[in-house]
């Protein structure tokens, strides 16, 4: 075969093999069709384990109960029993080792999430005890008068 045909041919073959070798090195072994079919299951299988290993931050009220039995039971008997401890106290991951104390949200905004007056027909929101945040002691923290662990009782 003539030289001017062979030389570019060699270049092309070299390029293609270089790409194939690079691909073989770069693409992980577990990459391929792992799920339902090619359209929905073409991925790196190890990524499922990566996601499972993501740290759990919210532990739930039963975890809090192990040390804070008193607060757990007082909340459980109140109208606030439906609210998870961590909704106000923050996620328990690492507690009590690090952080030792959790960052508690004591803002008026936290209480107003449910108790700002929005009398909406067709939504349970209208049934909750509510105040107008601009008129009801606007500069006072709610916890000065109300006990969040037992809202029926004045704190």
């Amino acid at each position: 075969m003539k030289n001017h045909i062979l030389r570019p041919l060699w270049v092309a073959i070299l390029l293609v093999s270089a790409i194939l070798i690079a691909r073989g090195l770069y693409v992980p072994d577990d990459f391929g069709v792992n799920g339902r079919n090619f359209t929905y299951g073409f991925h790196r299988k190890g990524n499922i384990e990566d996601w499972k290993a993501f740290p759990v931050k919210y532990r739930g009220r039963d975890y809090c109960k192990e040390c804070h039995e008193d607060n757990y039971s007082s909340v459980s008997d109140s109208a606030h029993a439906v609210i998870q401890c961590e909704n106000c106290h923050g996620p328990a991951l690492g507690h009590p080792d690090n952080p030792e104390a959790l960052e508690i949200d004591r803002s008026r905004g936290l209480c107003l999430r449910c108790h700002a007056d929005l009398p909406y027909p067709g939504s349970q929101r209208g049934d909750l005890p509510a105040i107008n945040p601009d008129e009801h002691n606007p500069d006072t923290p709610c916890a000065d008068c109300h006990n969040p662990h037992n809202p029926e009782q004045e704190g």
Binding site: N34, R36, F38, W51, Y58, G60, L118, P121, G122, R125
Partner: protein
């Protein structure tokens, strides 16, 4: 060529060609490993979500918990789940808002700088939204590199090491649940808290909801309380006409919700 192209020869060859073309295709279909595996052993689990819009009070604890649990930057206006407020007035207008995705709840009657008197409201409600974990996810179909995929239990995940950040999936999702993660610089979406549900926990948003407006269950288990509700009550899904087969079901969904 010794044989000439007679009619007999032509028909013979056509039939042989058709058989040759058809056989390997059907043989391949039978052997597809993913389909066989999915159909045989991993088909007893399929996550589904149930939202009761009548119970939602718009407290936004779900959004707060989701952002903290899944390390979505708290003060950036992106979120995996959000709560929308719908207020319908007597003049037929629908006022919709979702400030910061409802992260801090809804504490004022004002909607988009507009004061709406209570007497004008005919109905008003909150609608939590999250990834629908579609059976036919459009976002997965468009991924050019295989970075997003559907697990055998029906959850759509993104491989952060493989995503090139092209944003096709963000454009493709009819529900607008995908966004660009400001820290990892890849596509981001709700995973149904895959790290929690695979350990037997509920998702962070389900645990945070004080009123039981959010629930998660296995739709392939008929004894699952969530599945029972979906099977026996009147539920709706969002944008059914897209054919994506969403797996977030809604109780009390209004036609104004899109």
């Amino acid at each position: 060529m010794s044989k000439k192209c007679s009619r007999r020869n032509f028909i013979k060859k056509s039939i042989a060609g058709a058989v040759a073309a058809g056989l390997p295709l059907s043989a391949f279909k039978l052997l597809a490993p993913g389909e066989a595996r999915a159909a045989l052993k991993e088909s007893n689990l399929r996550w589904a979500f149930l939202v009761d819009t009548r119970k939602c009070v718009g407290c936004g604890f779900c959004v707060k918990a989701c952002k903290k649990e899944n390390e979505v930057p708290y003060d950036v206006p992106v979120t995996r789940t959000w709560v929308e407020r719908y207020v319908v007035t007597r003049d037929g207008r629908t006022h919709i808002d979702s400030p910061m995705g409802g992260r801090d709840g809804f504490t004022y009657k004002r909607i988009r700088e507009e004061e709406i008197p209570d007497s004008e409201i005919t109905k008003a409600f909150f609608v939590p939204k999250l990834c629908n974990q579609c059976q036919n996810p459009a976002c997965v179909q468009v991924c050019p590199v295989g970075a997003t995929y559907q697990t055998t239990d029906g959850v759509v995940l993104v491989d952060r090491t493989w995503c090139i950040g092209c944003g096709y999936c963000i454009m493709a999702c009819p529900y607008g649940v995908r966004f660009f993660h400001p820290v990892h610089k890849v596509a981001e979406k709700c995973t149904f808290c895959y790290h929690r549900i695979t350990k037997g926990l509920k998702t962070a948003c389900v645990d945070a909801c004080p009123f039981g407006a959010r629930r998660i269950g296995n739709i392939k288990d008929e004894n699952d309380p969530v599945t029972k509700t979906i099977l026996t009550e009147r539920v709706a899904v969002l944008k059914d006409e897209y054919g994506t087969k969403p797996h977030v079901f809604y109780l009390g969904l209004d036609e104004r919700v899109r």
